[in-house]
């Protein structure tokens, strides 16, 4: 039973009834309905409660402008919040809930706010919730709960979304008469065209229009045009696709809703798709929005835009009311009156203009519609539904107070305050807008990019102008892309003559706006005429400030209905013209876009690439938990028999120091640097004397930024006269390569140096501990490994167990150690070979945690952990690495006054007075009892329990710390007394460094 459904007509399919649920009620509609048209057909008049005042609200519009009918659609993980019912296609089993008001739109506890409406005036939130600031988290919870916006599902979204890149000659936004004509003109010229329209079918205002185009009804022209476009291979038609953003260099984003219109069980494949389009030319043809008028109680359910009333009658065969008052200041609403009359409703037109309409006035008269010219609707009677209106005579003076008014019974008020072109995309692209003093609307000014506006979004209201501008803009766009565009005749349409619109925004009432019922401008945010006037009285002048103070245009509809009349009211208050007041900024997205379509495929495993070493599967099989280091997955520790992290790390550390540990160090960045000028180049990059390095020797090197701060570090080796092998930190590999390339290409192009990343090609196995040499010998190595033939910091090519390797005698632990560099394809075999050969020495694999403990025991820093971009090599005590004989990047900065301060934070060791392992990041203070705020003198950068030493160790940066060895400072620990700690040298284990030289 659909009481408001007309017996015939519309573009719905009456053979396909669909059932759906609205706030738990089971209702029926037809295929071809939107949720909004189906609700209206069922006589549902209240679809939500307003944001602040909790007033009952009904459907106002029929498209993207709808401020009130904001719904939660679908169930569970598939649910989508905050959709406009006017743009939701009905499907079998659709579940819709109102998102404002609880427990439902028809009954609302918060409606009491309306009675205290005066309290909730402009700036209410600012004034009430400003102080005390510390209470803001409470206020916010209150506001959020009262606002009752939709809820995002808490489950993981099971649907699939994708991104697609596309290029085209001409992108056309909007598939009404102008957009379709443009597509046909550009498409026939041979241009690659994308035509996107947000609705399920093309046609825009033409759908169901009782007009002729050429010698055929508009519907017929529409069908033929869409068929012709579909037949062109160079034209891509995208229905259900909203062009929501226009970005730099003609880059546009389109959200295509692929399966949202289907019952959930029938959905397959991509749910929504983000098109990222680079277009040579853009034709904007998104039409125009009808404006409401601000009269008292103009938000009552049953007050609708006139154009929306026509849409519901023509397209959906729904009659929104039986006794209608059409209130207008222009001719277009007369068509709505005629539609209503033909649908069997009684109609009265209240026209603010003394002389009424042009040709449409004659047609209305013929249809027996009475017109009350020179009158205005001042107030609406009825609370949960329109029951009538107050109508008064008006001379055109905006400040005039109405003295007497008459009552007219009605259940529908169709309002038209004129039209505003949809200049959103034109504005996103950087174009300004100009106030048209004849048509009383903002029209697109000069385009900032390669785009042109056509039809109603260019302020052209007549069908003939829309068709003509569409054809012209399509041809012009194609020819600018180099296509020869054939002439196309504009089809003939019968156009009558129109009387001009009368500027009217705020409708006079029998009292000033502050003393009469509210005249709403922005329905979603409950902003009224009185609120704007209050903002001006309180000193706000700039439109952007007034917008923020009154929340005008801040809703999910971005003020598509209310912004222009709001600005007009502001202009009136300020005694300025509308163009002097100006518009607020239009920003993407044009309509709300789901987060999921923004994420596309970049979720879950595809969110970020994962890098695994060649030995990864062995680590996994050994039960090692992984630590993510950038994109790398590295083994963290190798637990045995239910060990926890601490037990495993203690065992691993002792094994490495007493016998043999093995670690996968493959994630180190590796760069091959060679060429005629490689020595000169590396001299400028590294701080030490690169030229003095002998072939076959390694050096520890650091590189600085030009600001003198440590940027990266690693071992580098000289492999030949003009050939070096550089290693970087795991996280710094890509940055260092880019940094080196930048200097070579931009500053020193005269240097001939070739850089090649080897990070993935070679794997690195570190063998650490006093038995490492013995095991290498057991595997079978082609070079002598004794300490004189192969000393500390040497590098040799060798064969190890039959595999060609590069063998480094370097140590990041302070022990006798070797690093085996081997082709990644053979790395797993080599790892297994070492494990087998080392078995009798208890070879112990260890992960990143033990590596950290071993290096911290030796005071070796990790760039990015013990440094933070504000630490110089001098701060780290690395003066010995700074060559005095040459310039290098960052050297001059080390002599800047700030770098010479004696109270800079310097790297030191810390020993706690009890067995506490200080949390990394712990702040250090001089005295425990200092008044708040306590001055801080440093912080802990690395901290571990050292099993080999039997006590905790920490590295820290402490102001002037190097000169303070033995002094006591205090660690500020949450929830306990400050803990005394002693400053020590940063090397805790084997301070003379003898073990690595054996």
């Amino acid at each position: 039973m659909q009481p408001q459904r007309l017996p015939t007509g519309g573009r719905i399919d009456r053979s396909k009834p669909l059932s759906f649920r609205f706030d738990g009620r089971k209702l029926e509609g037809y295929a071809g309905d939107t949720l909004a048209s189906a609700l209206l057909a069922n006589g549902v008049s209240i679809v939500g409660r307003s944001f602040k005042l909790r007033r009952p609200r009904g459907i106002v519009g029929s498209g993207a402008e709808e401020p009130n009918a904001i719904m939660q659609i679908g169930k569970g993980a598939h649910a989508q919040p905050n959709l406009r019912a006017t743009q939701v296609e009905l499907y079998e089993g659709l579940v819709a809930r109102t998102t404002k008001g609880w427990p439902g739109a028809r009954f609302d506890l918060g409606a009491i706010n309306d009675i205290f409406g005066k309290v909730f005036s402009a700036g209410f939130y600012y004034k009430t919730f400003m102080r005390p600031k510390s209470w803001w988290h409470l206020y916010e919870r209150f506001i959020r709960a009262s606002a009752g916006f939709g809820r995002a599902p808490t489950e993981t979204d099971p649907d699939h979304y994708e991104h697609r890149n596309a290029h085209c000659d001409v992108l056309i936004a909007g598939g009404g008469p102008a957009g379709l004509s443009a597509a046909l003109a550009a498409g026939r010229a041979g241009a690659r065209v994308i035509l996107a329209d947000e609705q399920d079918e093309f046609g825009g205002s033409l759908a169901g229009a009782k007009r002729n185009i050429g010698d055929a009804p508009a519907d017929e022209w529409l069908r033929r045009t869409v068929e012709s476009l579909a037949a062109l291979d160079n034209v891509t038609l995208l229905p259900r696709s909203t062009v929501f953003g226009y970005y730099d260099h003609n880059f546009l984003a389109i959200a295509e809703r692929c399966t949202d219109h289907l019952p959930e069980a029938d959905r397959a494949g991509v749910r929504q798709r983000l098109w990222r389009v680079r277009a040579k030319q853009v034709v904007l043809a998104q039409g125009a929005f009808e404006r409401p008028l601000a009269f008292c109680n103009n938000d009552r359910p049953g007050v609708m835009l006139a154009s929306a009333v026509s849409q519901y009658i023509r397209r959906y065969a729904v009659r929104p009311g039986r006794r209608a008052v059409v209130f207008t200041n222009n001719d277009s609403a007369y068509e709505t009156a005629i539609d209503l009359a033909e649908a069997g409703s009684s109609v009265v037109i209240v026209d603010s203009r003394a002389d009424g309409a042009g040709s449409l006035g004659e047609r209305a008269a013929k249809a027996g519609i009475s017109v009350i010219a020179g009158h205005i609707v001042t107030d609406v009677v009825g609370r949960r539904r329109v029951r009538g209106v107050r109508v008064a005579g008006w001379s055109g003076n905006p400040s005039y107070l109405v003295e007497s008014s008459i009552h007219i019974d009605c259940d529908l008020v169709a309002v038209s305050g004129g039209w505003s072109p949809a200049v959103h995309l034109h504005s996103h692209a950087g174009g300004r807008n100009a106030w048209d003093t004849e048509r009383h609307c903002f029209v697109p000014g000069e385009a900032a990019q390669a785009n042109v506006s056509a039809g109603a979004c260019n302020g052209k209201w007549s069908l003939r102008e829309c068709l003509r501008e569409g054809i012209e803009s399509g041809r012009a766009a194609a020819s600018r892309c180099g296509f020869e565009a054939p002439e196309i005749d504009t089809p003939s349409t019968s156009e009558g003559h129109y009387n001009p619109l009368q500027p009217l925004w705020r409708v006079p009432a029998d009292a000033e706006p502050e003393r009469c019922p509210k005249q709403f401008l922005d329905f979603q945010n409950d902003t009224s005429v009185a609120d704007i006037r209050l903002a001006v009285r309180e000193g706000y002048r700039n439109v952007e400030h007034v917008k923020r103070y009154t929340a005008l245009g801040f809703g999910t509809d971005q003020g598509k209905l209310g912004n222009i009349i709001g600005m007009a009211v502001l202009a009136e208050c300020l005694g300025k013209s509308i163009p002097e007041v100006g518009t607020t900024t239009f920003r993407p997205a044009y309509t709300p876009v789901a987060f999921a379509v923004g994420a596309g495929e970049s979720v879950g495993d595809l969110y970020d690439p994962v890098r695994k070493t060649a030995v990864h599967e062995w680590h996994v099989a050994a039960g090692a938990p992984m630590e993510n280091v950038g994109q790398w997955h590295r083994p963290w520790y190798f637990p045995r028999d239910g060990e926890d992290l601490h037990a495993a790390v203690a065992r691993e550390c002792v094994a490495a120091r007493q016998s043999l540990g093995i670690m996968d160090a493959s994630t180190l960045g590796k760069i091959d640097a060679r060429g005629r000028d490689v020595v000169e180049f590396l001299e400028r990059i590294y701080t030490h004397n690169v030229g003095k390095m002998k072939i076959g020797r390694c050096a520890y090197g650091i590189m600085l930024g030009e600001d003198g701060m440590v940027m990266d570090d690693g071992v580098m080796a000289r492999l030949g006269e003009q050939r070096f092998y550089l290693t970087t930190t795991t996280g710094g590999a890509a940055n260092v390569l880019a940094w080196l390339e930048a200097w070579l290409q931009t500053e020193w192009p005269e240097l001939e140096v070739f850089l090649t990343s080897l990070t993935d090609h070679f794997s690195t196995i570190a063998m650490v501990g006093p038995n490492s040499r013995r095991v290498l010998e057991r595997i079978g190595c082609t070079i002598d490994l004794d300490k004189d033939s192969f000393p500390f910091m040497a590098v040799r090519d060798a064969e190890l167990g039959g595999y060609p390797v590069q063998l480094f005698r370097v140590s990041f632990s302070g022990e006798l150690a070797f690093e085996i560099n081997i082709d990644s394809g053979s790395a797993l075999e080599m790892w297994k070979t070492v494990m087998a050969a080392g078995e009798e020495f208890g070879v112990t694999p260890y992960g990143t945690e033990t590596m950290h403990v071993l290096r911290a025991e030796k005071g070796f820093v990790i760039v990015g952990q013990d440094t933070d971009g504000s630490v110089t090599p001098v701060d780290l005590g690395m003066n010995w690495l700074l060559s005095k004989d040459k310039d290098f990047l960052g050297k001059r900065s080390l002599a800047r006054p700030d770098c010479l301060r004696s109270d800079r934070k310097q790297l030191v060791g810390l020993l706690s007075s009890d067995n506490t392992v200080l949390p990394e990041g712990t702040q250090l203070v001089e005295a425990p009892g200092a008044p708040v705020p306590v001055p801080m003198c440093g912080h802990v950068t690395s901290s571990y329990m050292s099993a080999c030493l039997g006590h905790p160790i920490a590295l820290a940066l402490v102001a002037g710390g190097r000169a303070r060895k033995g002094e006591t400072i205090y660690a500020a620990l949450p929830g306990r007394e400050p803990l005394p700690v002693t400053i020590a040298a940063p090397v805790f284990y084997d301070p003379k460094g003898e073990r690595q030289h054996v």
């Binding site: 970005y247 003609n250 990222r276 680079r278 390339e741 290409q745 500053e747 050297k891 900065s893």
Partner: protein, 93 residues
Amino acid sequence: MLLIECPWCGERAETEFSYGGEAGIARPPDPDVLSDAEWADYLFNRSNPRGAHRELWNHAQGCRRWFGVERDTVTYRIAGSFRLSDGSDNREG
């Protein structure tokens, strides 16, 4: 999203590139002779113009070459790209 012309690869989307700041900031040949103020000027100060700006870009996800672009900081319009190594400049006009 900007459309940037790499002098070697042609027009590509901004996501393929990384930004390198103002072009033409030459490293002083002998930093030691500079006063602290002069060194700080090289290190920290940039012209930050409103309008035409010559800047460095790297085709990081492509040929990895550095090159120059003249871009308007207000309109984001790009007048053209130029190579650094040979000084050739393929700006339009």
